[in-house]
């Protein structure tokens, strides 16, 4: 899932300062799941903005709506009737959603209300952790199912650096050493021999090294 976090309120207020009628849009996909931009957060932000604007003595009208997904044009089309009543759009979706809106509604400014963070997994209630950097050439099959690209601070592909201490990364005690995890798992799987193979320098083209990426499924693409 894509994770995100609400931007500081101050920054959002600054974006929409010149505008009176705001269309605040949530997204019922990833940002709902990570509690950053679902119906609930839309309500909270609307209320907060309302208060902040009241305090500063400027009027604001906020229309709240949550789309099923902001990254699909068909869903984005849904708000076509609401756009007319707004001076600006504030989106609580990830960067994909914001861009989709901006592309579709060229005549109206669209602002992000969240910072898109990373592709992650739920560790437990309320905690999301980075698990993938979309390198486009998945290594998990040879690293015991644990990704050194997204989980090692130095993206080391051939083993732990000298800073690995009791299973933790040198950058923080809260961060697991990815290579400790990989090693433990390889051991559990009886695949420790595999570690001795030198993993060659990575080809980063698949990971964005050659510009914006696209996937085209010939059988589906029109």
């Amino acid at each position: 899932m894509i994770t995100a976090e609400r931007k500081p309120l101050e920054e959002i207020i600054e974006y929409i300062k010149p505008f009176k009628r705001i269309l605040l849009l949530g997204c019922n996909e990833c940002v709902t799941v990570c509690s950053a931009g679902g119906r609930k957060e839309v309500g909270l932000l609307a209320s907060g903005l309302q208060m902040a604007r009241l305090k500063s003595g400027t009027d604001i009208e906020i229309q709240q709506h949550t789309l099923e997904r902001q990254c699909d044009p068909e869903y984005v089309e849904e708000i076509v009737s609401m756009i007319d009543g707004a001076d600006a759009v504030l989106s609580m979706a990830c960067g994909c959603g914001v861009q989709q809106l901006a592309m579709r509604y060229k005549e109206i400014p669209v602002f992000p209300a969240v910072n898109t963070k990373f592709m992650g997994a739920s560790e437990r209630q309320g905690v999301w952790a980075e698990r993938c950097q979309g390198c486009g050439d998945c290594l998990l099959g040879i690293t015991g199912g644990i990704c050194p690209i997204s989980r090692c601070a130095k993206q080391l592909m051939n083993g732990p650096c000298g800073g690995s201490t009791t299973g933790k990364c040198e950058i923080s005690e809260d961060v697991d050493c990815a290579w400790q995890l990989i090693w433990d798992r390889l051991k559990a799987l009886g695949l420790t021999e595999r570690y001795l193979d030198i993993m060659p320098a990575k080809d980063w083209r698949s990971g964005g090294g050659s510009g914006p990426r696209k996937i085209i499924r010939e059988d589906l693409a029109e």
Partner: protein, 1014 residues
């Protein structure tokens, strides 16, 4: 007349004597199983001793909160006739047909009229019985707000101006002409649970209790700690009013035959009681107060109690001194108390100063209950506790009369609850089978469909006598309410909860075609159900009412500021109106009840429960994993008291096998399970061929037992000279000649228990060692028996056998976990070396036999498998974990599941039998119904909004929500507890809690501020 419901000619009811926690439980169990009960108590309100406790072990919960739901429950039950201030004066007849004379003292208050407003107390405090409780030094004013009945009581003798008192009551409930009432009732059986009183140490001069204010009993200390106690929860020394710095507890006051007039028994609960008080003290004051417990043996033998003891020691730093206190003195001119004591390993006297000393006083039967026993005609033992059946401690010497709780013998709350349910089971068995009552049929009014109607609100505002009307102008409130949107009718209602007002409200609803109701009155906590019932009677959905609490939370607390009070009352009423217009009709969730029972485990517990339920006509499936019934009892010979286990067991097996309604399945293995409470389906493989079959049942009883432990210690299994206590017992029985040749026998206690690996106490081993050593001495009086122990835990009446063993020369030597005995092989014998603390050296005994008290451990494999299949929680050491360790000791958290016997925790046969009976009673409360009602306050998911994010799945404390096959969250209303935590965390706002929907809460908020922003 308060006894209007008692039908004089029927003997299909049970008399329950004593309205403490045990009596309430018995009455509730019977009532829920549709048996009629007369519950009497000699006090003004029910609740007993527990209402005076601050917190209870081992959860340290606030008691008031845990008992409250039970009390109001008992008042609501249709089958219970509650008579307070009432005693038994005579009993004639026999089982199935008793005739009992009851005498009630006058209350001088009409219960039907009294609204518990408290005006009488305010104006004539001296005339009103407000319970002083057991704390003679500092009475507490109002006992507790959940008092049942919700009424006061008048002490007319203390009243000088009766007329003035009568006038002060706005409800005209005071009746000075009230008379004692004598009445006769017929009943089929009687349950006695009048409780016990507490030992009074006043006559023990050396403890100074009478003269030194800072020497208090444990119950008094409890009152001082209690938030509703005399000091408002402030811990202070009574003499100085200052917070103490050093508090000591002295155990066994009035127990174990230690003092003059003390009982010879152990009082069972005092060790835990003292631990709790010390822990609560430490929790609140940490290092500001030092806590010391002077004890002989710490008896923490209950389920997970040993962990509690370890917590007190290790986490809270409570100090434990194994010692015998000699005296408590207060040196002239000082406020300190000087405690003199000797330690276990020397005769030297030590002195230490304390600010407060708490005497852990034990239980004692009261004169009153001895008299009761005499009147009822049951026999008492030398300690004045009832003589009971050897395998069934709730059965007395008189058929049809049962006992429970501390009246039966000293015990703690969970065991009281278990006995109370067991007594209910026994008492119910004496009743004729009931025919379905027409009573329930008559209340099924047709409900009007209001879902498409515009809201039409009726607002009814009580004056509650002066309580509301005396502070605010009710007419103003009515006038204001009438101006609000959707309000069709607004009127003043006098005492809204009185019969006449209720009728008026009902009529208005019908005549005006109202579809929403707001009551302005007292707390919804106490009165919501009453008004919900009223709506139902008036033909509209019961959930279309909202109560504005303008008494307890307005006029009572803002009486000094009538203007503000009136404004606030208006606001609260407006908020209720705004909220109720958004209320939607809700249906209580019900399920049809399958009346078959699955009992898992064919030991004594499982068989007892099976028989009890089969005898009531329910089909029982009894699944046993071995090829033979009887469980661990197959290995037992006799009980401590001399009961013949094998004879008991074989007759029980016979009965089970021949009962038409019991289907026994041996070699049975539970493999799958599904369904909801009241309609389960469980699949199992059984028999030599392991055939698979499915059973439909409404109740599941877990009686899977435990295993006897066999740790690899002290050469067990390496030489025949070393045996477990269980093996020893068999050996004594089978080879008496060999026993006669023994010279030395050593027993080691706590083998494999109370260790870091298995921290809990096995409960049964101390009495086992005593039992076997007495048996050895019977066969061979010359034998020298050594018992190496850590704490002797012969609780209750077992203590007397312990004393007997000491008298007969059994040598008791204490050892520490750090210095365990050492055992070495010595030919056919073993050398046992232990450290003697008194001699200060190692002693070696060459023993012919070494008996290891290895105790019990949970049946991990079985329990783990079953907990997985049934989704039930277990304790850390593998036993099943009940719903509430205190108040629901045999109910599992999943409705329809019960646990009994050693599957719950280690226990003796009679304790297991009691639990088995208790479980049978609890099961009958469900089996008696045709439908299971689950209430309406449950969370509901809107699948269209749900993002299947799992946040509700993780937030639910009861693991109810799940993502269904359609890909959205689903909450089973049968399992939902209605807390609303999922609702609050749902990021998609896809969940609503019925009765507390977001729009209703927000409507209240918006309404409150309408005036301000407008």
């Amino acid at each position: 007349m308060q006894n209007s419901k008692i039908n004089q000619n029927q003997n299909n009811k049970v008399l329950v004597v004593g309205g403490g926690l045990g009596g309430i439980r018995t009455a509730l169990d019977l009532a829920e199983a549709k048996k009629d009960v007369v519950l009497i108590d000699n006090d003004y309100t029910i609740g007993g001793l527990m209402t005076q406790l601050d917190r209870t072990f081992p959860t340290n919960n606030c008691d008031l909160c845990t008992i409250a739901p039970h009390l109001s429950e008992s008042n609501r039950e249709d089958h219970i006739e509650l008579l307070t201030m009432t005693t038994v004066t005579n009993v004639t007849g026999e089982k199935g047909n008793f005739s009992v004379t009851l005498t009630s003292k006058p209350r001088y208050i009409n219960l039907e009229r009294c609204t518990a407003c408290g005006d009488c107390l305010t104006h004539f405090p001296e005339c009103v019985n407000f319970h002083p409780g057991l704390d003679h030094r500092a009475p507490t004013c109002m006992r507790y707000p959940q008092a049942t009945p919700q009424a006061y009581s008048i002490d007319l003798e203390k009243c000088t101006d009766v007329q003035a008192l009568v006038k002060i009551c706005p409800a005209r409930a005071i009746n000075p002409d009230d008379m004692p009432i004598k009445r006769q009732i017929q009943c089929a059986s009687i349950v006695l649970s009048p409780g016990a009183s507490v030992f009074d140490p006043s006559h023990l001069d050396y403890l100074g209790y009478k003269n030194l204010p800072d020497v208090v009993t444990s119950l008094e200390y409890e009152r001082i700690l209690s938030a509703s106690g005399p000091t408002g929860g402030k811990l202070i020394c009574p003499s100085t009013g200052k917070q103490p710095k050093r508090v000591a507890w002295i155990q066994c006051i009035g127990s174990r035959g230690l003092q003059k007039e003390a009982g010879a028994y152990c009082s069972h609960a005092c060790c835990m009681f003292a631990l709790k008080e010390a822990i609560v003290t430490k929790e609140r004051f940490q290092d500001d107060i030092e806590t010391t417990i002077f004890y002989m043996d710490m008896r923490t033998f209950g389920k997970d109690y040993e962990l509690y003891l370890n917590r007190a020691k290790n986490d809270y730093g409570v100090r434990f001194l194994r010692s015998r206190p000699h005296s408590i003195l207060q040196p002239e001119g000082k406020t300190d108390l000087l405690l003199t004591y000797t330690k276990e390993d020397s005769t030297k006297q030590f002195e230490e100063e304390f600010d407060m000393v708490v005497l852990s006083t034990g239980f004692k039967t009261s004169e009153e209950s001895r008299l009761l026993a005499q009147r009822v005609g049951i026999e008492l033992n030398s300690d004045f506790f009832p003589i009971t059946e050897e395998f069934n401690p709730v059965v007395t010497t008189k058929p049809g009369v049962y006992v429970a709780g501390t009246f039966e013998g000293p015990k703690d709350i969970p065991e009281t609850m278990v006995q109370a349910s067991a007594a209910a089971c026994m008492a119910a068995a004496d009743l004729p089978d009931i025919i379905d009552e027409p009573k329930e049929l008559q209340e099924a009014p047709v409900e009007r469909d209001v879902s498409l109607e515009e809201p039409k609100v009726g607002v009814f505002i009580c004056d509650c006598g002066e309580n509301i009307g005396g502070i605010v102008n009710v007419e103003n409130l009515v006038a204001h309410a009438a101006t609000l949107p959707y309000v069709a009718v607004a009127k003043a209602e006098g005492h809204g909860c009185s019969r006449t007002s209720m009728e008026d409200i009902c009529q208005t609803i019908v005549e005006e075609g109202l579809n929403r109701v707001v009551i302005g009155g007292c707390s919804p906590r106490t009165h919501q159900e009453k008004f919900q019932d009223l709506l139902q009677k008036a033909g509209i959905n019961r959930y279309l009412v909202d109560i504005a609490n303008i008494r307890d939370q307005v006029t009572w607390v803002h009486s000094g500021k009538p203007k503000e009070a009136e404004a606030k009352a208006k606001e609260l009423i407006a908020m209720s109106i705004a909220s109720v217009v958004r209320a939607q009709p809700l249906t209580d969730h019900t399920l049809p009840m399958n009346k078959n029972v699955l009992v898992v485990g064919g030991g004594v517990t499982g068989m007892t429960a099976s028989l009890k339920l089969a005898e009531r006509g329910y089909q029982v499936y009894l699944a046993e994993k071995n090829d033979k019934l009887g469980g661990i009892a197959n290995h037992l010979v006799k009980t401590l008291e001399g009961g013949d286990v094998q004879a008991y067991l074989s007759s029980m097996v016979e009965k089970v096998k021949s009962h038409k309604k019991i289907q026994v399945m041996t070699r049975a293995l539970i493999v799958d399970h599904s369904g909801m409470p009241g309609m389960f389906t469980t699949g199992m493989q059984s028999g030599p061929q392991m055939f698979y079959k499915q059973i439909e049942h409404g109740i599941t009883i877990l009686a899977t037992g435990a295993q006897s432990n066999r740790p690899d210690q002290y050469l067990l299994g390496k030489t025949p000279a070393v045996k477990t206590q269980l093996e020893t017992q068999r050996y004594l029985f089978e080879h008496p000649d060999k026993v006669k040749q023994w010279e030395n026998v050593v027993m080691i206690q706590c083998v494999g228990s109370r260790t870091p690996e298995n921290p809990n106490c096995s409960r049964i081993c101390c009495q086992n060692a005593i039992k076997n050593s007495l048996a050895i001495l019977d066969l061979n009086p010359e034998a020298r028996v050594f018992i190496l122990y850590r704490d002797m835990r012969t609780y209750g009446f077992q203590e007397e056998y312990y004393q007997k063993a000491r008298e007969r020369g059994v040598i008791f030597v204490r050892y520490d976990l750090e210095k365990p005995p050492v055992v070495e092989e010595a030919g056919s014998q073993v050398d046992v070396t232990y450290y003697d603390t008194i001699l200060g050296m190692d002693i070696t005994v060459t023993a012919d036999t070494l008996c290891l008290s290895t105790g019990m451990i949970a049946d991990h494999d079985t329990n783990e498998e079953l907990s997985r299949v049934f989704k039930l929680p277990r304790t850390e050491d593998g036993y099943f974990l009940e719903d509430h360790v205190k108040l629901r000791p045999v109910d599992m958290p999943v409705p329809g599941f019960f646990v009994a016997g050693t599957a719950h925790s280690p226990k003796l046969i009679r304790e297991s039998v009691t639990q088995a009976n208790a479980v049978a009673a609890r099961a009958q409360t469900m089996l008696a119904r045709d439908q299971i009602s689950l209430g309406a306050a449950t969370a509901k998911v809107d699948g269209k909004l749900c993002a299947a994010c799992l946040i509700c799945v993780r937030a639910c404390p009861f693991n109810v929500p799940y993502i269904n096959a359609d890909g959205y969250s689903e909450i089973d209303p049968a399992k939902c507890h209605g807390c609303g935590m999922c609702v609050a965390e749902c990021p998609a706002k896809a969940i609503q809690l019925m009765q507390f929907e977001d729009d209703r809460i927000l409507a209240k908020v918006e309404q409150l501020f309408e005036r301000i922003t407008a």
